[in-house]
């Protein structure tokens, strides 16, 4: 199964369990975000990636420049593990 298939299966089950009112709020949130044009304004292929230096949970600082000195880099932004 692809990641998206797993996510879709999970979402179908979650939607069935969620109160309709909650689902409506979440759908309105996604729709507002879509209309805001944020995805169109985000960085695209061909753009230069911003440099960053961020801490790990153990207080070590990770710099994008150090990682790029060793090879390519995949960066994924996620909302949180909550």
């Amino acid at each position: 199964m692809t990641l998206q298939e797993k996510l879709d299966t999970y979402q179908t089950e979650a939607r069935a369990k969620r109160p309709a009112e909650w689902q409506a709020i979440m759908d309105r949130g996604t729709e507002a975000l879509r209309r805001s044009g944020i995805a169109e304004r985000s960085l695209k292929a061909g753009d230069r990636a911003p440099d960053f230096a961020l801490p790990t949970a153990t207080g070590q600082t990770v710099r994008s420049a150090d990682l790029l000195a060793r090879g390519h880099l995949v960066v994924t932004f996620y909302r949180g593990g909550w």
Binding site: Q11, I38, R48, F52, P55, A57, T58, H72, Y78, W82
Partner: protein
């Protein structure tokens, strides 16, 4: 689910000459919990205040009704979890950056239930010069 799928793809990502990091606005201690919960072998970085996500163009605010739903209905107080007092989050986005610092693949979707397939990351990396 996404982080676990990336963990599964980590050997292929490394074999294609790349490193992988995940970035979230969680406090470092909460990012650690996320990393441990998923047995992640890659770095989970804490972007407190979303400064880096903002430069990638990913930051938005929850609407008041969405904030109330998460805080009171779902019992997820993101303002406390992130230690900012705000309901400001990144939309999920994944970027493949070649070693010259240029973004080669960008996946951003306002629908938080959509994610880039790890196979697409690996395919993009394999097409890049080492």
């Amino acid at each position: 689910m996404e982080l676990a799928a990336l963990q599964d793809a980590l050997p292929e990502i490394a074999a294609a000459g790349a490193s992988l990091v995940a970035i979230s606005p969680e406090l470092p201690a909460n990012a650690m919990t996320t990393g441990q919960k998923n047995n992640l072998a890659f770095q989970v970085l804490s972007d407190h205040g979303n400064g880096v996500a903002r430069r990638f163009g990913l930051v938005f605010q929850f609407s008041p009704e969405l904030r109330d739903l998460y805080r009171d209905g779902l019992k997820k107080d993101l303002a406390a979890w992130n230690g900012t007092g705000t309901y400001e989050l990144p939309i999920p986005g994944t970027f493949v950056i070649s070693r010259d610092g240029i973004i080669r693949l960008a996946f951003v979707d306002p629908d938080y239930t959509k994610r880039l397939e790890p196979a697409d990351i690996v395919r993009t990396l394999r097409a890049l010069p080492r």
